[in-house]
Subunit: 104 residues, 2 copies
DNA sequence: ACAATAGATAAGCATGGACTTATGTGATTC
DNA sequence: GAATCACATAAGTCCATGCTTATCTATTGT
């Protein structure tokens, strides 16, 4: 798991779509494929890449493999982003505040 | 400028290094090359990619071109990241707090 | 034990991306 | 105005990557 792995993993639209789907709830590879014109091996390969970037983690459940968001990858991005905080525009601060409100 | 462009741009170690250098202060392409085993055309091409991702912007100054961090790209990443706030571990919140302290 | 199902892996192919050398363009200096 | 300098662009090469089809492994159900 490196910043290279993470950004490369997210540099693919399909993978970001998969990640987004997982963010709305853990599910197995077959469930992920539903409504996504993507072959079984392709999905498997994408998940492997996301796993290698610590953006996703798996949990075996019988013959199913349940996938879920791995906070580690997200944390790493946040860490990277934080280094450039000096350049964050006011708009981001506003967004942050908004999100903080929404949480409550 | 799309999320694809941004993540793809950052998926390259050399480009992240260039970006990091620029984050420590605006400079022209030649200055950027100093201490970085990279050819002039390669640098120019990397800068073009970073520009295309709104991570960097240029300002012509005579025959020099001064490059600087463009907050737009960073804002876009922050926005993307914010969508998955639910999964941010406590550690990030701590980091955020720390950075907020350091600002003062 | 056997068939079916969920998923991973292998191998091949086609495209994309990072580099190279060579050349072009626009500003500066003598 | 000719040489020089800062940078961009063109064209070619090589490796990475995302897909495909085919096959393998592991678990479940009958």
């Amino acid at each position: 798991m490196s910043e290279d792995d993470i950004f490369k993993a997210l540099g693919d639209t399909t993978r970001r779509a998969i990640f987004e789907k997982l963010a709305s709830g853990a599910m197995n590879a077959s469930a992920l494929r539903e409504g996504m014109a993507i072959s079984q091996p392709a999905m498997s390969q994408h998940l492997a890449v996301l796993r290698g970037a610590s953006l996703v983690r798996e949990r075996r459940q019988g013959r199913y493999v349940n996938y879920e968001v791995d906070p580690d990858g997200l944390a790493r991005i946040a860490g990277w982003l934080a280094r450039y905080r000096t350049y964050w525009p006011a708009r981001i601060e506003a967004l942050e505040a908004l999100l903080k409100d929404m949480d409550q």
